[in-house]
Symmetry: C2
Subunit: 81 residues, 2 copies
């Protein structure tokens, strides 16, 4: 069982890295993209003895307390069987 | 229309950052996780005039040529209507 955690800057926070990528795409004449935001992606391999509810609770706790800076970031996750 | 691009180290490449997180989780007594791999996550906002096939082709090109280092990384993406 794996958990996929996505951490992004809150939409109110300036994402300089994403803007730099968007500018680079324009310079490279790669059209069709109006904005880019960059975040972090984590794949957690979970102990197979956890049931789905326990896995969700544990991943939520880890994402909230360890992987995310709550001042400027937000997270989402999904569990893959 | 948005594209979500996930870039991860190839499984054959040592992910020191992910191992550091896994060790930190053990030190913090957060159980249930046997391994962590870290990657990058990009959200591209796409020009709404693109149709789905054109968007897929363009996002694939951008992910392959700009967002990924093909020597050590691999990518996947999904388009959200």
């Amino acid at each position: 069982m794996k958990a996929h955690v996505y951490v992004t800057l809150k939409t109110t926070v300036l994402d300089a890295q994403g803007q730099t990528i968007a500018n680079a795409l324009r310079r490279l004449s790669m059209t069709g993209v109006t904005a880019v935001r960059q975040g972090k992606y984590f794949v957690l391999t979970l102990d197979p003895s956890l049931d789905k509810a326990a896995a969700e609770a544990q991943v939520d706790k880890i994402a909230r307390e360890v992987l995310t800076n709550p001042v400027i970031e937000e997270y989402s996750f999904r569990i893959e069987e």
